[in-house]
């Protein structure tokens, strides 16, 4: 890559050629590995080649685009064209949760899982209309920068940093967890070790060159992840229905699933109590929770600092807007394919695994079973003997796999579908490389957001305003390293599944940022005191609900009037509160998910993933009331707000660049 330090105009005008060549090279590499597989190279070697080759390419791009210029480091010199910024945002956005977790969730939840698909796409409408382009015009380096300027000072900045770190840290933990999952499966490492191996890959990309390096690496990662995601379902679509566009053919797959569900009921392979019909709505989430999740994911999207920050890198406000549209188009390509992935995968499981004789279980399944991610008859499916022994222990077991015997972790679906469907191993390797690209690119963006906030907002703006550039960038890198290691250590404890962790991050961002950002642009009357009270109240309530229901449910029940959540299908309480409270450990067992009440209690039957729905309205109300009580913001401030509403002219905040 031609990246001269001075602007790199050669590089920018040749982007199409460079990434076209790169895509061709990647396809050639996949074909080469397919040939290697045919001549008998072992699977393990193929897995290693995939992981190391792609990691090496990202690292090379990262090293070539390294920079020591402040504006290049923080906002890629504000020179990334809308189209490529859209692609980079796509990769930044689509995390391990989207790539690895989404189809698995749809597999498990059927229609109800679509809440996530809707939530994670519709949010971009809010980004473009309400916030993104205005922050671009403002000219900040980080989201707390905007809060500090609009709401006068370091108190608002500090709150912005707290919100940013809380949601980004939760989110990055999920990404590192995803990386660890992939690395442990495809490199055969121990999970805890694999987490740290994945971390090294993440750091190489984001340590050196800040936003500029991350941007060009993310474009490369988008290309890998979208090819990897679409390949297996295009093959399955062609194989099953003779037409290579899965998004059109999976209607047929859905009909086949429904037919197979009936057949399994009729032949005793499942019972009405265990079967979750794929297209039936509100079976897993109550309507309230379904729409609450959509709302929180949408508004959370428009509040996540690492996403908003991506629109600071475009050359103009107009391009920022176009870039949001391109982002959504690139994201859409994956999201409208995810339900197809889930449907094909479910059909394969229902026909190739359910109803098969225990002795006919295919060996690939055991490698997931060893990791505790696939269970048959209630035990990890680590070997054929383990499975047969476990099923023998069940009275009247018919000797074939029934639906209720088979439990697969949702995070495994995408990674294992090629194997379930009996596709060549090279496809599995490709999917792993794509999942890795998704997790790495998001982790890069998040770590950068955290490190930038700590170095720019905390260190430079609050601690030492005279710090020389070189020291600011070194501080950024050291902090990046520390945050990454702490996140990896947290991930190694497996605090929850990927989707739940990501959901929390969105709700926290929504409650903490959204009211203050929107009011800051759309309501000139919003005052500093109002915003500060609003952030504290909204974010505080969301965090309280989250922590209490997850970690201190006993206290929630005892002191805050929380009740058991209800089963969406039957309306029955999920847990018997009285019985659980009588247990000796009801008020303790701090972090375990195994706590009998964890995530099962709350107010209004609202799941804690959607805690933003409590926090954000409170935030809006508090900002409104407190602002009305106080004195109007200065005429100067109102003029600034007018200024960010007009695309023309200089940015409001001009940074010293040297």
């Amino acid at each position: 890559m031609a990246t001269r330090t001075s602007g790199g105009t050669d590089f920018l005008s040749n982007l199409g050629k460079i990434y076209g060549f790169y895509t061709g090279g990647f396809l050639a590499f996949v074909i080469l590995l397919a040939v290697l597989e045919q001549v008998g190279v072992p699977n393990k070697i193929l897995g290693y080649l995939f992981v190391f080759f792609t990691l090496a390419v990202y690292a090379i791009i990262g090293i070539l685009s390294r920079t020591a210029q402040v504006s290049e480091y923080y906002v890629a010199g504000r020179s990334v064209p809308a189209f490529y910024n859209g692609m980079a945002t796509g990769a930044d956005w689509m995390s391990a949760a989207s790539f690895v977790g989404m189809a698995g969730t749809l597999f498990l939840l059927g229609y109800d899982g679509l809440a996530w698909v809707l939530g994670w796409t519709g949010g971009f409408v809010l980004v473009s209309i309400l916030i993104g382009p205005y922050l671009r015009k403002f000219g900040a380096y980080t989201v707390p920068d905007f809060l500090a300027f609009r709401y006068g000072g370091n108190f608002a900045r500090g709150l912005g940093v707290i919100v940013l770190v809380a949601c980004s840290f939760t989110y990055v933990t999920a990404q590192i967890y995803g990386t660890g999952l992939i690395a442990s499966r495809f490199l055969g490492m121990q999970f805890e070790l694999a987490v740290f191996a994945g971390l090294v890959g993440i750091l190489v990309c984001s340590m050196l060159g800040g936003m500029r390096a991350v941007t060009w690496t993310q474009v490369a990662q988008y290309i890998v992840l979208i090819i990897a995601y679409l390949t297996p379902i295009v093959i399955l679509s062609t194989k099953n229905y003779g037409f290579p566009i899965p998004e059109l053919t999976y209607g047929q797959a859905i009909a086949d699933i429904t037919a197979r569900e009936q057949e399994m009921l009729a032949t005793g392979l499942t019972t009405a109590a265990t079967l979750k019909p794929h297209i039936q709505p509100f079976f897993n989430y109550t309507p309230l929770n379904f729409f609450a999740i959509i709302m929180c994911m949408m508004v959370g999207t428009a509040s996540l600092p690492h996403i908003l920050m991506r629109y600071f890198t475009t050359p103009s406000v107009r391009e920022a807007r176009q870039s949001v549209a391109w982002s959504l188009l690139f994201i859409f390509l994956l999201y409208f394919s995810a339900p197809a992935y889930a449907a094909f995968s479910k059909l394969e499981v229902y026909t190739n695994i359910i109803g098969r004789d225990l002795s006919a279980i295919r060996p690939w399944l055991f490698s997931w079973g060893e990791l505790g991610l696939i269970q048959i008859c209630g035990k990890n499916a680590a070997s054929i003997d383990a499975v047969i022994a476990a099923c023998k222990a069940i009275a009247d077991h018919p000797g074939v796999v029934r639906l209720q015997d088979f439990v697969i972790n949702t995070d495994v679906i995408v990674l294992s579908t090629p194997e379930i469907a009996g596709l060549p191993y090279v496809i599995s390797g490709l999917v792993a490389a794509g999942g890795l690209a998704a997790a790495l690119s998001t982790a890069d963006g998040l770590l950068l957001a955290i490190a930038n906030a700590l170095s720019h907002d905390v260190y430079y703006k609050m601690v030492d305003p005279n710090a020389p550039t070189a020291r600011r960038l070194i501080v950024a890198r050291v902090l990046l390293l520390i945050v990454a290691v702490v996140a990896a250590a947290t991930a190694a404890t497996k605090p929850g599944d990927i989707l739940a962790m990501v959901g929390w991050a969105f709700s926290l961002a929504m409650a903490g940022n959204f009211p203050a950002l929107v009011m800051g642009v759309w309501w000139k009357r919003a005052t500093a005191t109002g915003a500060i009270c609003g952030i504290i109240a909204g974010f505080g309530l969301c965090l309280f609900y989250l922590v209490t229901t997850r970690y201190f449910p006993g206290a929630g029940v005892k002191y805050f009037g929380m009740t058991s959540l209800l089963n969406a299908a039957t309306g029955a309480p999920l847990v018997d509160i009285a019985k659980a409270m009588a247990l000796p450990n009801a008020m303790e067992s701090f972090p375990t998910l195994a706590h009998p009440l964890a995530n099962k209690v709350g107010w209004f039957n609202l799941t804690n993933i959607a805690c933003g729905l409590l926090g954000a309205p409170l935030g809006f109300a508090v900002i409104y009331i407190v602002s009305k009580l106080g004195r109007e913001p200065s005429a100067e401030m109102q003029a600034y707000v007018d200024d960010i509403r007009k695309p023309r002219g200089r940015t409001v905040l001009e940074e010293k660049t040297t």
């Binding site: 971009f124 209309i129 859905i254």
Partner: protein, 92 residues
Amino acid sequence: MADSANLKQREEAHWAKTSRLMFTHLGVWFFFGFVIHMFVKPLNNIIIPVLGFPLGFYMAAQGSLIIFVVMLFVFAKQQDKIDREFGFAEED
């Protein structure tokens, strides 16, 4: 003085139009993000010909998503037009 009064007027007209565009798009967003999915059960009784999807499922899996993408490209164009109309667009 006349110039600044004129600027003030243009600013207000520009923002009024921008706000109207915002509310229109938010309305469409709300309809396809929420309202239509409240009717998923009756919509599922309609099967899309040839493709075979139940309509309610289809709207959540693809329909609304397509609308969101189209909306954003349209919005970028419309907002740019408003900015040009009042002379607040960036120079090309």
